[in-house]
């Protein structure tokens, strides 16, 4: 049998890569492997609609396009190790698969607190559908909820839990929630809006102990305060799923390091010709900003990377060397984009906000609908609005650094 193209990770990135491969003319064997039991589904609703309503997999599943009819899906089975020189991967059930070409789309998993002896019942993280379904029945009216970690997912979960009638305290390390992605002004503004809905914030604080025997009953903070709670939502960041690549000569420090054509790199920086990474797990350069590489955990990135890799790989395995060379000459240069919904606050952003050295109010007013620009010198590196979406969108093409080519 001919060696297949293997995609590890059966979520949005993996799915879109498979689709693009087929649409770009790759007709050979295509295997998609995912450790979750579910076919690919949409993750953003997990901290929003899925928590708020009684929905199941069908409500968030991505439609499977006809072109994927003959894809070999391996679900509920993790890739546990790999030998990139021999071009093999090994699954949890000991199956070994030889591949021709490997696309890594394994995403992230939540970082969890590890406190020896701490109860696990009542402690939750939100990354998978099963996570969200396990959490939902606990968010009852009157439930006391502590959200530990004040990033996007934590703040969205806090808003959703509050809307369901729970009383919510967010505990965070920084001075304000979502400081790094949004900057001070906007973060403070959003904190005030959360507070107006009854969310309490305990900032510049860390959790030191989880109370309870087999079920969480409270948490102790390093300011000495004890908070009673029934539910603890841990949203303290994520870790890239790269363990199955260990032992190979591949740079997996903080995600799979890829170049502008999304080839995974050896430790010395030279590319693997037949290993690619896409989506949340990939650490990549964005040439219109700066030479540093970063992971960008935003919605449009897996799809845009998948489109690039799918097309490029189909051409690599096809007959038209010239078309492949043309595609290889195109650098991956996305404009990161995200949105977030928290109570009535609907954020829409473009660019790399955390690269901004100065934040300016561009339109509207603090506390109402408004748009902030994030500037490095005179260059706008990011824009973020509360409301005013069509105006925010009109700034999208202005985002980037002018100094770089």
């Amino acid at each position: 049998m001919t060696r297949p193209v293997v995609i590890v990770g059966a979520s949005m990135g993996g799915l879109r890569a498979a689709e693009t491969l087929r649409k770009s003319g790759y007709a050979g064997r295509l295997v998609v492997i995912g450790d979750e039991p579910h076919a690919p589904y949409n993750r953003p609703p997990l901290s929003k609609e899925v928590l708020a309503e009684q929905v199941d997999h069908a409500a968030v599943a991505f439609p499977i396009a006809e072109v994927l009819e003959d894809v070999e899906w391996v679900l509920g089975n993790a890739v546990v190790s790999s030998d990139l020189d021999a071009q093999t991967i090994t699954l949890a059930d000991d199956t070994v698969i030889e591949y021709n070409l490997l696309i890594i789309a394994t995403g992230l998993r939540p970082r969890r607190l590890s406190m020896p002896g701490a109860p696990t019942r009542g402690a939750h993280a939100i990354r998978t559908l099963d996570d969200a379904m396990a959490l939902r029945p606990e968010l009852k009216p009157g439930a006391k909820v502590v959200v530990y970690g004040a990033g996007f997912i934590g703040c969205e979960a806090a808003a959703t839990a509050t809307k369901l009638g729970a009383s919510v305290t967010v505990v965070g390390k920084g001075p304000v929630p979502m400081l790094r992605p949004l900057g001070h002004q906007l973060a403070e503004d959003i904190q005030r809006r959360h507070e107006a809905h009854g969310v309490r914030f305990v900032m510049k604080t860390q959790l030191t102990e989880i109370l309870g025997d087999d079920k969480v009953t409270g948490v102790v903070l390093d300011n000495g305060e004890t908070l009673e709670c029934d539910v603890l939502i841990e949203s303290i960041g994520s870790l890239p799923n790269t363990e199955f690549l260990e032992g190979n000569d591949i740079d997996i420090a903080s995600g799979v390091h890829v170049n502008s054509t999304l080839h995974a790199l050896h430790q010395n920086g030279t590319p693997w010709s037949n290993v690619f990474a896409i989506g949340d797990v990939a650490r990549f350069p964005i040439p219109q900003f700066d030479p540093t590489t970063r992971r960008v955990e935003h919605w449009n990135i897996p799809t845009e990377m998948a489109r690039k890799v799918g097309k490029q790989v189909a051409l690599q395995l096809g007959e038209d060397a010239e078309a492949h060379a043309t595609e290889l000459a195109k650098n991956f240069a996305p404009i990161p984009s995200f949105w977030s919904d928290q109570f009535e606050v609907s954020l829409l952003a473009y660019g790399l906000l955390d690269q901004g050295e100065e934040v300016r109010l561009l339109e509207g007013e603090v506390g109402g609908d408004c748009i902030y620009g994030y500037f490095k010198g005179e260059d706008m590196v990011g824009v973020c609005g509360i409301g005013m979406r069509s105006k925010v969108m009109s700034y999208r093409n202005k985002v980037g650094l002018t100094a770089t080519a």
Binding site: R16, E19, N42, P44, P45, F62, P63, W299, N300, T303, S337, W339, D341, S346, L348, G387, M388, R389, S390, M393, R396
Partner: protein
């Protein structure tokens, strides 16, 4: 010809579709999605991109003569 449908119960007016198929989708002055219910076949690739990128998976289309 393409027949396009957006499930307005699902659509959150994020406008992600607008960049992929600007001839078909736009946000109006009230930031609400407006779209053309029919489009030329030449828009099919763009509309498919919009279908894929829509965070609420609210867009569907069929090909009609």
């Amino acid at each position: 010809m393409l027949k396009i449908h957006v499930d307005m119960e699902k659509c959150q007016h994020y406008g992600q579709c607008v960049f992929d198929a600007p001839n078909v989708f736009r946000l109006n002055d009230d930031d609400k999605l407006e779209y053309e219910a029919t489009a030329d076949d030449s828009e099919q690739d763009n509309v498919q991109l919009a279908v894929d990128i829509c965070p609420m998976q609210a867009i569907t289309f069929t090909k009609a003569d």
